[in-house]
Amino acid sequence: MNPTLLRFFLSEYRKRRKKAALITFALFWGTMSIIIFLGFGQGMTTQFRTSFSGLGEDLIMINGGQTSRTYQGLPKGRRIQIFPTDIDYLKARIPEIDLIAPESDNSWLVSARRKEINRTIHGTTAEFASMRTQIPRPGGRFINPDDVRDGRKVAFIGWKVAGDLFGAENPVGQTIVINRVPFMVIGVLEKKLQDSMYNGPDADQVYLPFTSFGQIDSQPYLDRIHLRPRKPGDSLLVEERVRTLLGRKYRFDPDDRYALGIWNTIENAKEAMVIFKGIEVFMGIMGALTLLIGAVGVTNLMYAVVKERTQEIGIKMALGAKRRVIILQIVMETLFIFVKGTFWGFVTAFNIIQLVRRIPINYDNFDLGGYLLRPIFSMQTLFIFLGVVGVLIFLSGIFPALRASRLNPIESLRYE
């Protein structure tokens, strides 16, 4: 735009500053709403995904059950148990399985430094770590294949167990006694968000090599099998094959939903993600509607501007201003009002998001805060915002501008 025309416009604008103040505030508020809503919506989705993956990523869990149908002459109500041999059995027959690990657990006293606590102890293999997001704190590790092969007396413990037994001290290398057998702590679980669990959060658990667990526990069957398909999309297929194969092995109807307990977190996550996406979109729409109120204010103001400046527009027309010059002037002014309101709304919302992100999350007692305290300002938010604002600027500016450009020059010149 030409500097003279720009200066005209600014001096005109300054006169209207007070009138524009309320509308600027509405735009400020609307911008803040849209960015904060989008930020919290996205943050919630991400937190949900993170906390869900706190249990495991692309994980299917299988445990024994009780038949609810008669099958091949066998009565219903039979108890179905799964055994360590099922690991190789399934792995050999279902090529879509990427990782598979057994899990057995029992509750015992765990002691160290004359402190004694009761915790669930699990026996498993190295594959468990990746499926169940068991990430060790620096300086430690999870159970590895050698630990399992050699039946080493080592333990991986949750951070709460570490705190309960050793306080602030580093437990790695220290000894804990489980069921009167000493184990060396080789790693402590890094803090994580976890919203789904069995036997309580992983922070409270103790993990041993599957073979070592067998030495202190006499139970022959498994409590759980964890497996991960190569492709998450195969989860339902894998689930069906597990039912079929184990059904054949243990003689139950593969369609009997109670014979095996299968927790397919992939399918659960899919459903939950749809809900969270829905919330995200809803919040975005709420924000956009709030901004729309501001935009309606701007349209009103611009109609008033056109009316107030009728004579000026008439003069410009008489001097040969083309329609687009008149339109551009009004649209530019709309843009300016918008930029002013939205810029500060944008800055404020951005800072609010950053401030909220600084509030620490209580990992030990995961609740609503865990979802709400990590809003996100993303490129996606920015683009959605710019798109919405762009459309609103156009819509609130163009109609007053068109009206201005269609004014009759003679009547406009006479307008007082």
């Binding site: 027309m317 008489a318 001097l319 083309k322 687009r324 010059v325 020059p409």
Partner: protein, 220 residues
Amino acid sequence: MIEFRGIKKVYQTGSQSLEALRNLTLEIGRGEFVSIMGPSGSGKSTLMNIIGCLDTPTEGEYILEGRNVAGLNLDQLATIRNKTIGFVFQNFNLLPYATAWENVELPLLFNGKKGRQRRERVAELLGEVGLLEWKEHRPSELSGGQQQRIALARALANDPPLILADEPTGNLDSKSGEEIMAILSRLWKEGRTIVMVTHDDRISSHSERTIRLFDGMLAV
């Protein structure tokens, strides 16, 4: 320069229609200084508006510089107003928030004149009307005569062959009025066509020819 053939202008207000110009035919040659006189309601302003391409006739043909204006769209009319016609109004019609310089600059901006060329032209025009020292002043800081001189400078910005003056001295004291008339006479002598509406015989005496209107027709 200007040719009216059977021009009719009808204003429709509700069910009533008012015939402002009735079958008007007239011709104004290039380089003429013509004043238009007549009582109020005689159609002077309507005639000026049509000549100035601010309005279009209901019927008839208006030929400006050999070109029929009737079928032109809004932007084409705007271009004619910008390049071919310079307007001088009774109430000056300067932009109140713009300086003298900026007011003169406006038609050049609409014509797309660039930086240095434009600045030189504005300085030249303000010099011609003797107001270069007043370039930073806004209309409210200038006398009526000065404002009308700024308006004249603005009318001349794109060097139009036709100047339309609607009661140019109507809001001025006699001394300022004489100054304006002197400038208009000079412009006429330089070869421009001047069409001026007035109801003051002393003012019209500056022109070569007087067209008298009565009830939307030429008075005989």
